[in-house]
């Protein structure tokens, strides 16, 4: 099996507490029964609207959150119940790049300290080697190694994101979770970062979980795309297949809403307008969670939650219409 990461029936509920005794009165079902796998060297794109649980999924996979239920496998090893100490060696292989390059770098540390820290934590290399390594890493991500002693505020957004990438690469990971790595950047800089990520993937055979809401960028970088809605995975397919042949009513609406940078095509494009907004994950609707906004809903949709079905061609969908 070539799966580097496999997730089975993952659930993450956050309790809502009330009163002085902190009684659990309800749960936010941020991730509710999500399964996927990523092959080594490939990219899985995770898309969906804000609050659909994509970031929580990413963070639970790397065990920044303890999963409520389900299994997480890394190289076919069950890492779900590992202690923090046992996770250390695995975390070296799993790194994360964060959304906000302004908030995810410590403003009081120089760039070289930021990159060095992860090597120190994982007790890699001696001090001389680390210095060499930092130079090399800055070079790899396209920064000038003379800038190593500067502070994050001296860099622009795109450069800071490069520092974030260098930090993630410092411990030689195999799997990187990119949580909206480009959404805070200017358009002309986004392409730079995407190209850098692609080059690095080829060079080091990296595996990415790419979380984003910019669907055209996700399509560009991913081999496979999973669409999430309110904590559920509603559709998974190869990226071209998903774009050319979306099946789930939600995916169709989502794709039709992407603004295309081409005025003639944009005029011709038929938009499927979704009514209303995403319901609260505290009180999700019964049955299929999408049914209050779905045009095609049937009786069964309000009663029973659909499960992922394989339509063939590696195209999976959770919908009662199929």
């Amino acid at each position: 099996m070539g799966d580097l990461v496999r997730v089975e029936n993952l659930k993450k509920y956050f309790p809502i507490r009330k009163g002085i005794l902190g009684k659990k009165i309800n749960y936010v079902k941020a991730v509710d029964n999500v399964s996927f796998s990523i092959k080594s060297g490939e990219t899985l794109g995770l898309v969906g609207e804000s609050g659909c649980g994509k970031t929580t999924t990413g963070r639970t996979v790397i065990k920044l959150y303890e999963p409520t239920e389900g299994k997480i496998y890394y190289e076919d090893k069950d890492i779900t119940n590992l202690t923090n100490r046992e996770m250390m060696s695995i975390r070296r292989k799993m790194q994360m790049i964060f959304q906000d390059p302004y908030a995810s770098l410590n403003p009081r540390m120089t760039v070289s300290d930021i990159i060095r820290e992860s090597m120190v934590v994982h007790k890699m290399y001696n001090e001389n080697e680390r210095r060499e390594k930092i130079k090399e890493l800055l070079d790899i991500v396209g920064l000038n190694s003379e800038q190593a002693n500067r502070y994050p505020h001296e860099f622009s957004g795109g450069q800071r994101q490069r520092v974030g990438i260098a930090r993630a690469l410092a411990v030689e990971p195999k799997f990187i979770i990119c949580d909206e790595p480009i959404s805070a950047l200017d358009v002309s800089i986004q392409a730079q970062i995407i190209n850098t990520l692609e080059d690095l993937q080829k060079k080091y055979n990296l595996t990415y979980l790419f979380i984003a809401h910019d669907l055209s960028m996700v399509k560009h970088i991913s081999n496979k795309i999973a669409v999430m809605y309110l904590g559920n995975m509603v559709e998974v397919a190869e990226s071209n297949e998903l774009y050319m042949n979306p099946q789930h009513p939600y995916t169709k609406a989502l794709l039709s809403a992407i603004p295309i940078p081409d005025p003639d095509k944009s005029k011709k494009k038929k938009r499927i307008m979704l009514e209303g907004e995403v319901p609260s994950p505290i009180k999700p609707p019964r049955g299929c969670k999408f049914h209050p906004r779905c045009k095609y809903k049937k009786k069964i949709c309000t009663e029973e939650q659909p499960v992922l079905k394989d339509l063939g061609n590696n195209h999976k969908i959770a919908c009662h219409l199929f």
Binding site: S156, A191, Y243, P259, P263
Partner: protein, 331 residues
Amino acid sequence: MDNILEVTNLHTSFYTMAGEVKAVNGLDFSVRKGSTLGIVGESGSGKSVTMLSIVKLLGTNGKIKEGSILFNGEDVVDKKEDYMQTLRGNKIGMIFQDPMTSLNPVLTVGYQICESLIKHKNMSRRQAEKKAVELLSEVGIPDPKNRLNNYPHEFSGGMRQRVMIAIAVSCNPQLLIADEPTTALDVTIQAQILDLMKRLQSELDTSIIIITHDLGVVADIADEIMVMYGGNMVEKGSTRDIFYNPKHPYTKGLLRSVPNPDKLIKEKLIPIDGQPPDLLNLPKGCPFSPRCPNTMKICLMKNPDLMEFENGQKARCWLLNKEARAKGKVI
């Protein structure tokens, strides 16, 4: 007169501890009545400062140094605050980027909508509330009567942006300025909001300036597009001309750096190298020259003038000047 807004030679600067930040340098543009102008450019290109200059909300350290801004033929640059208050929210509606922070969290939504109606349209509170209910249902908020008494935190992001739009259009403005109105929203909600803006425009015949960095959004909504870089316009033209016949290397670069989801075979993106300019010390010549693939000697020495083409398209680049191009060598 067919221009609702005419901006000539606008210079806006901010005075900071580090020195003078020249945010807008000699900008000229106009907006036709009833049309939509899209302004695109990266952060720091002067898009938002241009908008804030028009309504004169620059804060204490910002100043319009030079130029004129004619709104309906009348120059607002030298007008006093009292006069500006009769324009803002009345003849000029504003929608800001972040619906979370641009509504007052301690006042009900109803109060905030009624405020401008009472101030500008001399309505009584009861009349204003009636109108507010109409406005909320117009922008697609269910159960508007009860929602009037809710506070902003009881609305979702898309709903709050609708409330912002309701406030902005409450006094039937002649000009609506929307600064990144959909950037904080999800695509499905973005589509709803853009649709709403288009519908309101056709009903009220409002002129719109929409500021965004999303090329897809302007392709959808704008009649004309102005591309800004380093505090000035580098290109302006009809939406079709800008997308299908861009003249300036920055515009071309922007269009190339976004992926086209319709392509089945994966092509590598072509980014624009380098970083946006530092407004504290702009390069001497063309501000784009450090990132331009075809920089010539003259580009480093002198900022080019705006060239106008037969189709009305305008661009600011030495490469379009035949003489400069013949003499100049690409370095």
